[in-house]
Structures are given as C-alpha cells and as structure tokens.
C-alpha cells in the first residue's frame, strides 16, 4: 500500500503541477525569461567570491517567498531544506579542518540555488518549462527527452500503480510479496515501456513529428516582461559591484 501511495504522490505532483498552472495566473512573465534569470542568478552565485552577492539574492528570494501562501512556501522550502541539510552534513568535516566559513558559504550557495529552482518549479508548469527550453534554443534532443520523461513518468506511474493495486488486492497471508513481487512489477513495467516507446515512435511518424518542438503559444513581449528583463543587467551589475567590494 505504501508503494501505491508513493506512486500516487509522484503522479499527483506532476499532474497537479500542470492543472494548477492552467488555472493560476500562469505568471505574467515569459517562462523563458524566468528560466534565463534563474540560470543567471545561480551561475553568478556559483562564481561569486564573497558572501555578499549570495546574501543579497537570498534576501530578495526570501522577501518574494514571504509574500506567497503558506502552502506554496512549504512546497518550495521542503526540497531546499533537504538539500541544505545534505550539503551541511557533507561539508561538516570542513569545520574540524578549521574552515567553518566554507561550511556556511557552500550551504548558503546551495540554499540560494535550490531555492531559485524550487520557486521556478512551483511557479512554471512543465509544458511552459519545455517551451522555455525550446525558446532558449536548447538542443531538440534535450527538450524531447525532458518532455518524454515527464509524460512517461505519469503514464508508467499509473500503470505500475494499477499492478500494485491488483497485487495487494490478491495478496493473502504473510507480507512477503513486497520483496518477491517488486522485481516482477518492475519487469512488467519495463516491458510495457518498451512497447509504449515503439507505439510512441509510430505515432510520431503518423503525425509527421520529427522531434522538432514548436511553440504555438507565442505572445508578445509585454511590459511586465520588460521590467523582469531588467533583472538581467541588475544581477550582473550587482555581481560586479559585490565582487569589487572584497
């Protein structure tokens, strides 16, 4: 039953993400622009030689996050805290080697980077993310793989969920099936995925889909987009200023 629940959670997360953002404001900002700003902020954070830039970005991120709903905050912070905790444990030996600041610096950078990505993930749907990657001229293969992965996670997730449900309904006696049956379920799912990939390939050929992703929801560069785009020079200026401050 636990495995069923885990799978259902995963599916809900992906499909929920999509349905939420169909009804939500879908952000007035172009997803490609958001993605660019996020990547730039993370890149500059990684390049930063001092903590000032990182702390400034963290302050801005926290301010933005504090204005969101409690549910959004929880969804956003959960992966961030796990990542920071993991990093903290990994970097703990730095303290015993006499570099406690390194522990703080790396943990802060991880916090900042994962926070940006987590916020992006929670505020841009998967379809828009694919669209954003395409707009940014990411290789077709990359976009195709990402898109297919997301779709098949849901499809195969539902499939294995049905098998698990069937197995648990037919289960009688001691609880040994979990280990004995898992291999079978995984194997069946794998075979199914092979079949489905062939079907997908045929469906692609029938629809004359050559792997080229085109965005059909092009919209004009609006005023909020222009304002948001100002973040790019602002981030670079901030980075240059903070690096000179040392």
């Amino acid at each position: 039953m636990n495995m069923n629940l885990q799978l259902m959670r995963l599916i809900r997360r992906i499909t929920g993400n999509d349905s939420e953002y169909q009804t939500a404001d879908q952000s007035r900002i172009l997803p490609a622009l958001r993605l660019s700003v996020a990547f730039l902020a993370i890149l500059l954070c990684a390049l930063s030689q001092n903590a000032i830039y990182v702390i400034m970005i963290i302050a801005a991120e926290l301010l933005w996050l504090s204005m969101k709903s409690p549910i959004f905050i929880r969804k956003t912070l959960k992966p961030v805290l796990i990542a920071v905790l993991f990093c903290f444990v990994l970097m703990l030996p730095a303290v015993s080697m006499g570099h406690p600041r390194t522990l703080l610096t790396v943990s802060m950078k991880v916090f900042e980077s994962v926070l940006i990505l987590s916020q992006l993930e929670n505020s841009v749907s998967w379809q828009n993310m694919t669209d954003a990657f395409r707009t940014l001229h990411c290789p077709q293969l990359f976009v195709f793989t990402l898109d297919m992965t997301m779709r098949f996670l849901v499809i195969l997730g539902r499939y294995s969920n049905s098998i698990l449900e069937a197995v648990s309904l037919r289960r009688v006696g001691p609880d040994h099936w979990k280990t004995a049956g898992t291999g079978g379920i995984l194997g069946t799912t794998f075979l199914r995925s092979q079949k489905m990939s062939l079907e997908t390939s045929e469906a692609m050929a029938c629809r004359c889909f050559d792997g080229e992703y085109r965005s059909y929801r092009r919209r004009r560069f609006s005023r909020p987009d222009a304002l948001y785009a100002l973040l790019i020079p602002l981030l670079i200026a901030l980075f240059v200023y903070t690096q000179q401050a040392m």
Partner: protein, 329 residues
C-alpha cells in the same frame, strides 16, 4: 537590552533558560488553544514588526543606545502568550543570524523581552483600559502598558547584570562576568528606559496600533485567515527602508560592549570569564557585511529577518495540515 554571551555566568543562563521552559510550554498550549492556525501568519507580521522595531537604535547622552521592542504591541493585538512566542522567535533569529544577543544568554533575553515585557505590558494595558473610558482607551492603555512593560524588562536585565559581580569572582576578587554591580547597572539601564527608550516604545506601540486600527482592523478582531492589508505591507516596507536610521545612533548599548570595549567603559579590566568564554560567529554579525555599506547591510538584514519571521509563522500555520490548500497570503 540584548544581553550578549559571557556577560552572565553559565549558571545564571541555565537558570533563566530553565525558567523560560514552563513559560514557553504554557504559551504554546495557549496559542494552540486560543489562536486559530490560520491567524498564525498575522503573528509572523507582529514578530516582524518587533524585529524591525529593535533595529531602530536611539542614542542618549553618554554614548549609549537603546531601542523599542514591540512586545506590548503584539500582546495588545494577539494576546501575551502569542507575544511571548513571537518575540522569542524574533530573538532567536537575531541571535543566530545577526549575533544580536547571545546564544547562552538566549533564555535570559527571552525572560526579559519575551516574558516580562509582554506580560507586564499586557497586564498594565488591561488595568488601564478598565479605568479609562472612551474610544481611545485601548491606545492609552497600550501606551502606558508598553512603557511599564519595557521598564520592567530593563529592570530585570539590570538585576541579571548586577548580581554577577556579587556571585562570581576570581581569586583576586575581580568579577568573572559583568563587572558592574546593582548600584551601577540599575541606574544605567533604567535611566535610558525611563526616558527615551520608554518613550520610543510608547510611540512605536501606539503608532503601529493606531495604524492597524485604521488600516487593518481585521488583524485584531477576525478569527479567520486574513490577507495582510496593503497599508500594513507598505508600513513594513517603509520601516525596512528606514532601518538605517538606527545607524545614526553611535555607541553601543549599555551592557552590550565587545570584549575589547569593556575595559574602557570604566571597568578598568576585561573579566576573565569574558576572555575565555563562549564565542559564536553569526552569519551577518551586527547586521552588517564586510565590504558593504553599513546602510545596505542594515536594510538587507531587515529584509532577511522580517521575511524569515513571516515565513516561519506561515509554515507553522500549515504544519501537519496538508489538506487545507486554500489559505490566503
């Protein structure tokens, strides 16, 4: 009023922390019982106001500084138990991230500012409100309550400082921790709080209360989830931008000197307990970052502190409650 580490003996710190445990326990139980979870984000806003209030340092002649705390303000809005929790979390953030107030002395700081201040302030407010009639009774009550509250807290801090040389001395008879006895600490602390800092607390409390009454009355009366009113957000933004005014006050607050400053304050020596005591290096010490203008560091600290407090209380409002998906901001 933020007692740094090593000014109080570890024994005193342990006693104060132990004294706070039942207070925190009762406060958490009361808040759980009396305040609906959906109103907890409002408590975060209150804690943020308290945090920002503590950043406005005010100078008094003699080179010392002080600030408002806002404990009575939160107590008037949401009750003393909620104020205790809110100020405790604000003090924790200050100690851990900004190095304002010690880690060991956290219990003592909470006793003064998160327990004595809001509870005494609230009791005085209620007492006055029963005796004063009219539509401004709550404002008058809160004004007097906040003055009484902050002075009671300052007196407690002064006593905690003052008993150190009486209790802890080395073989040569020198104080191990705070070198000033009650005869110095009480007048030094009370002089500022009975005058300027007390007035600052009154002004801060009544100004914000009057503003809330006009702009966001639901913050006090509603028992349901309320969206933080725009004027309240604007007020908070204005406070954040104005926090560098706290830098105009030169000098260190009484009892908050660093180890290299204390000998020059009149003590004539640095107590050995301070030299070899506990030291904690915070992330943004004294609300400033090396290589950054002080005013910018102050604004950043205000943003980080206020945002973290609001986030913490918003998270508490949905803790263990994943089904309530439609809460307001």
């Amino acid at each position: 009023m933020h007692i740094p580490d090593n000014y109080l003996s570890p024994q005193t710190c342990a006693v104060m922390a132990a004294a706070m445990v039942p207070v925190w326990t009762v406060s958490i139980k009361k808040v759980k019982a009396e305040i609906p979870k959906v109103k907890l984000p409002m408590l975060g806003v209150g804690a943020a106001f308290s945090f920002l209030g503590m950043m406005f340092n005010i100078p008094i002649p003699g080179g010392t500084t002080g600030h408002a705390v806002g404990g009575t303000l939160i107590a008037s809005l949401m009750g003393p138990y909620a104020a205790c929790i809110a100020v405790t979390v604000a003090l924790l953030i200050q100690a851990l991230i900004f190095g304002d107030g010690g880690i060991l002395s956290f219990g003592a700081n909470c006793f003064n500012m998160a327990f004595v201040l809001p509870f005494v302030g609230y009791a005085a407010t209620q007492l006055i409100m029963k005796r004063v009639k009219g539509k401004n009774a709550d404002l008058i009550g809160s004004a007097i309550g906040s003055y009484v509250g902050i002075n009671a807290a300052a007196l407690c801090a002064a006593i905690e400082f003052g008993i150190q040389p009486m209790l802890f001395r080395d073989a040569a008879g020198n104080a191990l921790y705070c070198p000033y006895g009650l005869n110095v600490s009480i007048p030094a602390m009370m002089l500022g709080h009975l005058t300027l800092f007390g007035i600052a607390e009154v002004v801060y409390t009544t100004a914000v209360l009057a503003f809330v009454r006009k702009a966001a009355p639901e913050m006090k009366s509603s028992t349901e989830a309320v969206r933080t009113a725009l004027p309240l957000k604007l007020l908070m933004a204005a406070l954040v931008i104005l926090t560098p005014l706290g830098l105009l006050a030169e000098g260190t607050a009484w009892g908050e000197w660093s180890t290299d400053e204390i000998a020059a304050t009149g003590a004539g020596f640095t107590p050995s307990g301070m030299l070899s005591g506990f030291s904690y290096s915070s992330l943004i010490p004294d609300y400033s970052l090396t290589g950054m203008p002080e005013w910018l560091g102050y604004i950043l600290s205000a943003v980080i502190g206020a945002a973290i407090l609001i986030i913490i209380f918003k998270l508490l409002s949905v803790a263990g409650n994943s089904k309530k998906e439609n809460l307001t901001v």
